[in-house]
């Protein structure tokens, strides 16, 4: 589903974000990307949605070499990838329902599809009762659920989550992880970057560790710490 070969990315001022990164992620996998701040986790996610271009190397997403993708096809790539962020990126002037509906609206889905799919996905994330609440009327965990609903409403092949529990307390984080696990079980590939060792240790999924842009560990059913 995702394949990187010898990918290098350096930002201005010789800040190395990724160095000779190669990895394969299969369909329906659940992968944790761990590592300290600045190790390249977010860069990896930005490369996958082609928000950044690698300096060298090739990247395939859903069987397509995205380096070859012309710019007008990038939106189509992104429709296959749902994204969730630490800061939710919800629109404050829209309710939970409208935030999710917006994602379908702007990719040209007809109203009857929106009316049908938005309630479904809000039900999936457990927010049916809060559908008419604005983001500032919801807890962090609820906001993140809205954001996951928005990422998943278009049934993407891949869900990328960049420290989705970074702003949440541990018990709320558990709920979010259950939700991501459920989404993974529907057949969606999930790639999640995190700092949260307890979550990684509990889930026992594949762990990829980055250190200053270099892949230092790739372990099936792994844990957060190196020697655990």
């Amino acid at each position: 589903m995702i394949r990187l070969r010898d990918v290098n990315k350096t930002y201005k001022g010789n800040v190395v974000a990724l160095r000779d990164m190669s990895i394969d992620i299969a369909k329906q996998e659940f992968v944790f990307v761990v590592g300290p701040t600045g190790s390249g986790k977010s860069t990896l996610i930005r490369l996958l949605i082609k928000e950044e271009k690698p300096d060298s190397g090739r990247i395939w997403v859903a069987g397509k070499d995205i380096g070859q993708l012309s710019s007008w096809k990038v939106p189509l790539l992104r429709r296959n990838i749902g994204c969730v962020f630490q800061d939710f990126k919800l629109l404050p002037s829209k309710t939970a329902y409208e935030n999710v509906a917006f994602a379908l609206e702007v990719i040209g889905r007809p109203p009857h599809v929106i009316r049908q799919q938005v309630p479904q996905v809000l039900d999936l994330v457990g927010l049916t009762k809060k559908r008419d609440h604005f983001p500032n009327e919801m807890s962090g965990g609820e906001q993140q659920r809205v954001s996951i609903a928005r990422a998943f409403v278009n049934r993407p092949l891949i869900l990328l989550a960049d420290e989705p529990t970074g702003n949440l307390d541990p018990s709320t984080s558990v709920g979010i992880m259950r939700l991501l696990d459920r989404i993974n079980r529907t057949g969606t590939t999930v790639v999640m970057s995190t700092h949260d060792s307890s979550i990684v240790d509990t889930m026992r999924r594949r762990v990829v560790e980055l250190d200053r842009g270099v892949l230092v560990r790739d372990q099936a059913r792994g844990v957060y710490g190196v020697n655990a």
Partner: protein, 297 residues
């Protein structure tokens, strides 16, 4: 991709509402500059029409000395009759010329009273067969006995044309500067609209909205500003033309050049459509630049 019209309309209207003051500044600048453009175009039309009348009928006047003798006058008459280049001519006697003079200075009794019939020069009004022959015909009489002066209508037309040309160039210059200002104002309005919606834009990009889908409401906003500004200018030009036309028709009806300085309704309509076109163009340019520079899609 089917663009959801309702979505585009809703976004455009809400963008405009958010930036009412900026949008009106841009819109009014478009209106003022296009009014000038419209004025320039109409003056051009009017001058064309006035001078076309002259062109088909180029006239030179041979003014006799006020004290020219009968034989001198008859000699000129004979010569005109014998010249193949002369298509037609007419003698304007002293009393006729005096009447004309009185009409021209109807509002200025001082001038009117300062001359008597006897002091007014009679003249021959000559229509040559070809406009190019005017000068040749005229030169032949310049040194003939009894001739005071030969004056060419063409020179007067040229004077009119050069004055109005200057006026037009000035109007065009001011209009061009204002149009550039309007483009920049529209660019700025759109930039503010994009800034106000940066979160929405980020989310749209994230979930895979196409670039055109993101751009269209912003571009439409600029286009609307240009179009509404142009419509205002259209209205101003329409009313302005009526006012000017009434004036021209009311006073100095006898002055030939003014009488033919006519701008018809269809002229105003064509000019109006040109203005609308320019308005749309300016709006589109402004917003296209804005989305290019500030909407990194």
């Amino acid at each position: 991709m089917a663009v959801n019209l309702e979505y585009v309309f809703r976004e455009t209207v809400s963008n405009l509402k958010r930036n009412v003051s900026m949008a009106s500044a841009a819109l009014l600048t478009v209106a003022v500059s296009l009014t000038l453009v419209g004025g320039a175009l109409l003056v051009k039309k009017g001058v064309e029409r006035a001078t076309v009348q002259w062109r088909g009928n180029v006239e030179l006047s041979i003014f006799m000395k006020a004290d020219a003798s009968q034989p001198e006058s008859e000699a000129i008459d004979r010569q005109l009759k014998s010249m193949p280049e002369v298509k037609d001519y007419r003698y304007v006697s002293k009393p006729e010329a005096f009447e004309e003079f009185k009409k021209i200075f109807a509002n200025e009794p001082d001038v009117r009273e300062s001359l008597t019939v006897e002091q007014i020069p009679p003249s021959y009004r000559v229509v040559p067969r070809e406009a190019e022959q005017t000068k040749i015909v005229g030169e032949r009489f310049e040194n003939t006995a009894g001739v005071f002066r030969v004056s060419y209508a063409k020179e007067e037309v040229d004077a009119l044309v050069s004055v109005t040309n200057f006026l037009q160039i000035m109007l065009w210059g001011i209009a061009a500067v204002l149009l550039a200002a309007a483009s920049l104002l529209i660019l700025n309005t759109i930039r503010m609209a994009i800034f106000a919606r940066r979160r929405e834009v980020a989310v749209m990009k994230l979930v895979g909205a196409t670039n055109w889908f993101i751009r269209i409401p912003f571009m439409l906003e600029g286009l609307l500003q240009g179009l509404v500004g142009a419509a205002l200018a259209f209205g101003v030009v329409w009313i302005g033309r009526d006012l000017v036309q009434d004036r021209v028709a009311g006073a100095r009806n006898d002055i030939q050049l003014f009488k033919q300085f006519l701008v018809t309704g269809p002229d105003v309509m064509t000019t109006g459509f040109v203005l609308l076109g320019v308005g749309v163009f300016v709006g589109t340019i402004g917003s296209a630049l804005a989305v290019r520079r500030f909407l990194d899609v």
